[in-house]
Symmetry: C2
Subunit: 497 residues, 2 copies
């Protein structure tokens, strides 16, 4: 059934099959049923295409056909579904340009390393100047009412009160990404080489190509934009051996981990930076202080004393976790190294010694001896194979834990700054008289965002570590079962013929 | 049903319940059915008791009631069943004396170390003088017809022609021994301490106590007595720590291995030295050269050229096996050490690091976190336990191989001498005219005994290594299954409650 709808705000088409619509424009929607966050319909110029759902609202409903754009949201507008956030980074193309703003690849000066670029484009980087994080992040400016930007409905991020305290409203369209097919590409007639990774989001299942520097750009944008959200660090850079198989495989996995941390975060996954073209994103106003304008807190303000104690508790927690995951990471890396070198060598030496025993026994070729000789030689081979199993195992069950610990190490490094913003706001409010209700309201917003982020951290941590420990144990079980099967195979060789 | 029987040769009772009988004496047997090699009956003096079966023969049979004692056997008399050989060492008592000859314990001068004793009582030791083994062993004396002793029927050892060449006639009453309950004993009012081992032969299942020096005495007697039979070395001596648990346990196992090599050898298991009292045994005439008098070769003499090539092949084999089992022994001992120290440490370090991770996580006691914290802590414990499994494992599956290799190392050290006796005889015969048929006949006896012993070595080796490798693999399989079960247990802790 076709419906008439009025467009809530501008949308500029960025890919074939999308149509551009203007605020207040009347459009025809073919069905209210969404297809992965998009609606099909046509506009006044008769163009038939799809457009993201919240861009228009059915004119048949009682809600007003348009909403005013405010600097401070006052309603709990439902967040834009995920797909809005994705098209550009995950679903659009960085290479097939549709206009100058969109031609990401040409925007890059390939002579500059990607990080430097990212930093030069980030207007508010962390740890870049001598001011406190509270000041740098824009937390202070927001608290003092100095933030000022246009905030559209779709930019709003809701904090809701859950069973365990404030939490980000869940992303109704969760998705994941796989990163595969790392391929070496060349440009400037082969003068420059780079690695391109195939990124496939679960909701479209269409692969797009991305380079490390694109991830790097996105990282810098997200850090700049979100003062109290932990954006995990990208897998580390490496100056040499960029095209070596091991490094590429490790980077691929690292990027996948990173992407999935991004896509599973209710705020980050919906960030415009994913959607906007490069230059537009860099002109985005909702960064730093202005980010707090997009936070929609629960109705009842938090008890600031309670917030303070929770944040303090989390600070202690992160410090301890940071120290302890260093221990775990060092230990399992060393354990992996031991398995790959020491354990393998030991099993292979035993295998070789059994083969040597078989060789001596083979000098007696009497009928009743032959079966045993072969069985012992086979046992030797089995031990050599078990040595290989040991050497191969760490990448299946220790490396993933190590990767996870690396991600969390990055998170933990972000939290002192996040906590500083919260503490800065709290200190400021304590100094101010109760009647400054705006200040208290704004402090509540910062507190809600911080506690929601802490809650998200814990939930993600519990989910990630549970999954990873399960994976580790399952892999270990398969590993020891594989060894057992090999030994059973060897044992049967001793059955009398 | 009672039967009349005529005694074949003297038997002197050595334990309560046995009766002494004289050659040709008529006795009454209550039943032809043996009870573990013994028959029940009474003698002319009306004494009611049991006596070993072959001592008498039923007078109701057609076989002659007595057999002449000759210096050279001419018949293939069936060997005496095993039990005859056992009573004294395995089934009688070394401690409860019935007469001066039998009071083994008092015969020993406890101020002298047992080895020295054994050597001083051995009239023909190996490697003790500058003469060739051929001379020392008595091989030369026998070959030259200088051997001279009374040989009774029951002393005869048959060599039969089997599928793979000459072999010892199989022991019709095979038995094994377990050695348990090492206990510290004292004598001279506590002035002297020694370890006593409980020896239980499978055919009587009655435990007797023996000391290391008794085994040592037996070893020396057997070495002296059998020129071409490999008597395995006793487990090594140790000057200090004789009462330490590890040493006692190792010695106990070593003595058991040794005993079972003795009892599974068709000639050694039947040796009189097991039966005779200590002084009688030391007066035994059938040692060295005279041993060959007891060999009953197959009807058709061997081809000496063939013998020469077989013995040469065996010489090469033993050299290679000797070299290679050193490699195996070194490797598996090192592997065991690594498992007990290195592997254990690695698993325990990983276990501890998981526990440390759980400790950090326990600082977040939110409901959704608790299950994970406990599961990770349990995983840590599981890894520590697996470390213990690794440390405990070598004694189950590597030590037994090492023990076996030690036994065979001892065997291999015996063979150069055995081969020398055979080569000495062969060289002597080559120098002699064909018409010296006695010389050829005697060389054939030495050759038959040597090849039978080589055959026995190979058969025992194949049996022992098959069993031990099977045991090793079975233990390894159980070990890895135990680890798998532990990991599965840990995995289940992650199931969401």
């Amino acid at each position: 059934m076709a419906l008439k709808a009025r467009v809530l705000y501008d949308f500029h088409s960025e890919n074939p099959g999308e149509i551009s619509v203007r605020e207040n424009e009347l459009v025809t929607v073919f069905s209210e049923e969404e297809l992965e966050g998009w609606l099909e319909g046509k506009n006044s110029r008769g163009r038939l295409a799809s457009s993201p759902r919240p861009t228009w609202r059915s004119s048949g409903t009682t809600s007003p056909p348009t909403r005013p754009i405010t600097t401070r949201p006052i309603t709990t507008a439902s967040p834009r579904p995920n797909p809005l956030a994705i098209p550009h980074f995950c679903g659009g193309s960085f290479h097939t340009s549709q206009g100058s703003d969109d031609d990401w690849d040409d925007d890059w000066d390939d002579t500059l390393p990607a990080t430097q670029q990212a930093k030069s484009t980030a207007t508010v980087g962390r740890n870049l100047n001598r001011f406190s994080t509270f000041v740098k992040s824009g937390g202070e400016a927001f608290l003092l009412g100095e933030a000022n930007a246009l905030v559209r409905d779709g930019d709003m991020m809701c904090v809701v009160m859950g069973k365990h305290g404030p939490e980000w409203q869940e992303d109704p369209y969760p998705f994941t990404c796989t990163i595969d097919d790392p391929t070496k590409q060349t440009k400037f007639k082969g003068m420059k080489s780079y690695m391109s990774y195939g990124l496939t989001p679960s909701h479209t299942n269409v692969q797009v190509n991305r380079r490390y520097k694109h991830f790097d750009w996105l990282y810098a944008r997200l850090v700049e934009r979100f003062p109290v959200i932990s954006v995990p660090h990208l897998p580390e850079k490496q100056a040499t051996g960029r095209f070596e198989e091991d490094f590429i495989s490790k980077r691929r996995k690292g990027l996948m981990w990173w992407m999935n941390h991004m896509t599973s975060h209710p705020v980050l996954a919906r960030c415009d930076s994913w959607k906007l073209g490069k230059r537009k994103a860099e002109r985005d106003e909702l960064v730093g202080a202005n980010f707090f304008l997009t936070i929609n807190p629960p109705d009842v303000p938090l008890d600031l004393q309670d917030v303070e104690s929770k944040v303090e508790g989390f600070k202690t927690f992160t410090k301890r976790m940071d120290e302890n995951i260093i221990v775990v990471n060092t230990t399992i890396n060393e354990f992996g190294r031991k398995q790959m070198i020491g354990f393998k060598k030991e099993y292979q030496k035993v295998g070789q010694s059994f083969k040597v025993l078989a060789q001596a026994f083979e000098m007696d070729q009497q009928a009743y001896s032959v079966g045993l000789n072969k069985a012992i030689a086979y046992t030797g081979e089995a031990y050599e194979t078990i040595g290989e199993y040991f050497a191969d195992q760490p990448r299946h069950d220790l490396d993933p834990i190590s990767d996870l610990l690396d991600i969390y190490k990055g998170h933990l490094a972000n939290y002192p700054d996040i906590i500083d913003v919260q503490k800065g706001a709290l200190t400021k409010v304590k100094d101010c008289p109760q009647q400054e209700s705006d200040l208290h309201e704004r402090c509540n917003i910062i507190s809600c965002a911080t506690l929601a982020e802490i809650q998200h951290f814990h939930r993600t941590r519990v989910r990630d570590f549970r999954l990873q420990m399960q994976h580790h144990l399952q892999q270990q079980i398969s590993f020891f079962q594989k060894i057992t099967a090999k030994l059973e195979d060897a044992l049967h060789r001793y059955d009398e013929q």
